[in-house]
């Protein structure tokens, strides 16, 4: 117990992803790609596959490396440091996890190798305009017709959808709008008839879409897992995604903290480096503590993803609250200590600030997760 060290393979993964990003993912490239079309790089995605990043958490028999949450954490922290644009979480963490966990044998053998090899990009269409952070608040309906379903509804802010080959879509197959039962998960071809998209860039340089489904015809083979029983599945998948994004936010926060300290050591005012002023020193120490506490929470949630549902949810919510608060504090402080240059588009800092700020609004913000955490049974004090 109490071992936080990486295995040899994990250490290798960490080094190779860091080296690859240092060579291929500079801030200038990030800015150029995020502002151009199509807003991501397929060749980089293929290189991720060659490095084993896309298959890191996919079972070996399906072309992956058979890793788990720790591998995802390693990759995502590095991605956070480099502001990676490619849709890793929806493709690998959400779709890879759902298909690997409850997909049919046909779905596994069709999709998992394609994910690992970089031949498939999958987006996660779960949010709806009226639903806020409630995963069960679904206006999108899949009605039974013959042996299949007909899908109608609208999905909001589907990250990576403009270049996705397929979509994981949550829809109601029975019950009332917010019922826990009656939620189903479908894997839908991104070019299926009846899908229309409005694509747009996000504040942090990603691409997303508003998606309308109009009488999209599905068969039962599009269903991932059992009909009507999808909510626990997507809760589990989104908790995995939360852990991954917390690691990403950690990577971004570390960059903000490091560059702020660097700046405070070199920027002179009143004849001395501004890092000599105690009021700024203490703020930077508070940033340091927020980042370290976040690093602890990333480990915590990563190591608890395999626990039973209540413990896993508490862990994910706790991590999301910590990272949400820390992200805001570290980002705002970093900009403040940089002064005027901190609010310019030219400096990388602001782009990290944006990435971390936006992540709070994904899969539930601080308030949402505080409420979810408080609603779950307290874990007993010591054992």
């Amino acid at each position: 117990m109490m071992d936080f060290s990486y295995s040899e393979e994990q250490e290798l993964l960490r080094n190779s992803v860091a080296r690859f990003l240092a060579d291929n993912y500079s801030f200038e490239i990030f800015r150029k790609v995020s502002r151009g079309e199509p807003g991501w790089r397929r060749e980089v995605w293929k290189q991720f596959a060659e490095l084993g990043l896309l298959g890191a958490s996919i079972p070996e028999q399906h072309g992956g490396l058979g890793g788990g949450p720790v591998e995802t954490m390693i990759v995502m922290e590095a991605f956070g440091r480099a502001l990676v644009l490619e849709p890793y979480v929806p493709t690998v963490v959400i779709a890879g996890h759902l298909i690997g966990r409850v997909g049919s044998e046909a779905q596994k053998s069709e999709w998992l190798p394609r994910i690992a090899s970089g031949d498939a990009v999958i987006a996660f269409a779960f949010a709806e305009p009226q639903g806020r952070y409630n995963l069960a608040d679904l206006g999108t309906v899949a009605s039974k017709r013959g042996g299949g379903y007909v899908l109608n509804g609208q999905k909001a802010v589907v990250i990576g959808a403009p270049f996705a080959d397929a979509l994981v879509v949550t829809a109601r197959t029975s019950g009332e709008r917010r019922d826990a039962k009656g939620v189903s998960v479908f894997l839908v071809d991104g070019r299926a008839k009846g899908i229309s998209r409005r694509d747009y860039p996000t504040m942090d340089g990603l691409r997303a879409s508003e998606i309308t489904f109009e009488n999209v015809e599905l068969t039962s083979e599009n269903l991932i897992g059992a009909a009507d029983e999808g909510l626990p599945l997507i809760e589990e998948a989104t908790d995995q995604a939360i852990a991954a994004h917390c690691a990403e936010a950690l990577g971004a926060m570390r960059v903000m903290q490091e560059s702020t300290i660097e700046y405070a050591k070199t920027r002179k005012q009143f004849g001395v480096p501004i890092g000599k002023f105690q009021v700024l020193q203490h703020r930077m120490v508070d940033m340091f503590m927020a980042v370290e506490q976040s690093a602890s929470m990333v480990l915590m949630v990563t190591l608890k993803l395999g626990e039973r549902a209540d413990a896993r949810k508490k862990a994910a919510s706790a991590a999301k609250v910590q990272i949400g608060k820390a992200g805001r504090f570290v980002g705002q402080s970093a900009v403040q200590i940089h002064g005027g240059i901190g609010v310019t588009d030219e400096l990388a800092l602001g782009h990290y600030f944006k990435r971390v700020t936006m992540l709070d609004a994904l899969y539930g913000n601080v308030d949402h997760h505080l409420a979810r955490y408080a609603s779950l049974q307290p874990t007993s004090g010591n054992q």
């Binding site: 117990m1 071992d3 020193q281």
Partner: protein, 394 residues
């Protein structure tokens, strides 16, 4: 990466738990939480652990340590907190003893360590002075060499439980003509020495927790100097770092949150338990989440320690966050008890029922008392200075 306990570690936990169940007298359970307790309350538990050989888990085995792994020590602390045992006071076991076995000579080790272990000697800490708080190196208590003795004159303050103490370890000035840090010596002084006067200081909850200690021509044998003359600052710094592990108080804070939940479950707001109101439930959730982060920060430190990396200045984070959380819990507990925060618990005699619900007793006192936590042991602002300088390089 792994956080699961091995079967051996689980068996160890069971052993500790049953030992505590069998040996902790019922009247001592939670006693120190309710008030400061009597000397005998601390010593009773100290002696139980001494008889078992468990009083100083962090010491090297040759001096009476347990030889436990970092994980076993962690489990032991958790179980003590869970059972609300009296604490083992740090001044002897975890402050002066490591200085003695690291820097002291053989005679000192032989003379002092066994009596610290057995509880025969009660130690207190002579660091702070009226003019040397955060600026500790500015201390003025003077020790002048006179043959085989030092003559000590001056005053120490904030000396915790000095009224019970047999010995005091002191930082004294032996050279006033050099940089403040370079003229300090570490002395062990018998509290029965002629010329020592102890005066009580009453703190916010009305108890005598700390004292002033006056030295008036006190003769201290030179053999009671630890290490070299004028090297005391080095030993003091060593002690400060050594004391970091455990300072987070995670296990005891978990217990305190459990009690806070009980109180808030019994309090009613318009017929609803306070703990079920959104506002209060979220406040409790927030502090619990903070504590979870701190727990893993401590685990990371311990895991590094298990691999041979001694705690560094970054462990100041454990002191800052640990005390902030402890204070926040006392604040929420004070809020939770409502109007019954008012009665002064000390106004009721030992054999008298206090007014109000049992769990409200002392809530306000503990809140006021715990304001000390962000001040002692190097104030949280000083801790931030340490991190700024030693970790961030500012």
């Amino acid at each position: 990466m792994d956080l699961t306990f091995s079967p051996e570690e689980e068996a160890f936990r069971a052993e500790v738990r049953s030992f505590i169940a069998d040996h902790l007298p019922a009247h001592l359970k939670g006693r120190i939480r309710r008030d400061l307790g009597r000397k005998e309350d601390y010593l009773a538990w100290h002696r139980e652990l001494y008889r078992k050989g468990w009083v100083a888990p962090s010491w090297p085995k040759e001096y009476g340590g347990t030889g436990w792994t970092v994980t076993e020590r962690y489990i032991f602390n958790e179980e003590c907190a869970r059972a609300e045992t009296p604490p083992i006071l740090p001044f002897g076991v975890s402050m002066v003893a490591p200085v003695i076995y690291t820097f002291g000579n053989e005679a000192q080790k032989k003379k002092f360590l066994p009596r610290i272990l057995s509880g025969d000697d009660w130690w207190c800490q002579g660091y702070s002075e009226p003019g040397a708080g955060s600026d500790l190196a500015n201390l003025k208590t003077r020790a002048v060499r006179d043959g085989d003795h030092y003559i000590v004159n001056g005053q120490k303050t904030w000396t915790t439980l000095a009224q019970f103490a047999d010995w005091i370890f002191c930082l004294v000035r032996t050279d006033p003509n050099v940089k403040p840090q370079e003229g300090i010596t570490f002395l062990l002084i018998d509290m029965k020495s002629p010329g020592i006067t102890v005066k009580p200081i009453i703190v916010l909850d009305g108890v005598r927790e700390v004292n002033e200690v006056f030295f008036d021509d006190v003769r201290v044998p030179a053999e009671n100097r630890v290490g070299e003359e004028n090297q005391g600052w080095t030993y003091a710094k060593f002690l400060l770092l050594h004391e970091r592990s455990g300072i987070a108080g995670v296990a005891r804070s978990k217990k305190a949150i459990e009690r806070l939940r009980e109180i808030a479950a019994a309090e009613q707001v318009d017929g609803t338990p306070l703990i079920e109101t959104d506002e209060f439930a979220r406040k409790v959730a927030e502090v619990e989440i903070d504590l979870t982060a701190l727990e893993f920060t401590e685990l990371r430190t311990l895991a590094a320690e298990a691999k041979g990396k001694p705690p560094g200045p970054e462990s100041s984070i454990l002191k800052i966050k640990g005390t902030e959380i402890q204070q926040r819990i006392t604040e929420l507990t004070l809020e939770a008890v409502g109007t019954y925060a008012y009665p002064d618990a000390h106004a009721f005699g030992d054999n008298e029922y206090p007014v109000g619900p049992e769990n409200a007793v002392g809530a306000a006192g503990v809140y006021f008392n715990m304001r000390k936590a962000s001040i002692y042991g190097g104030s949280n602002e000083i801790q931030r200075n340490i991190i700024a300088k030693a970790v961030l390089g500012l």
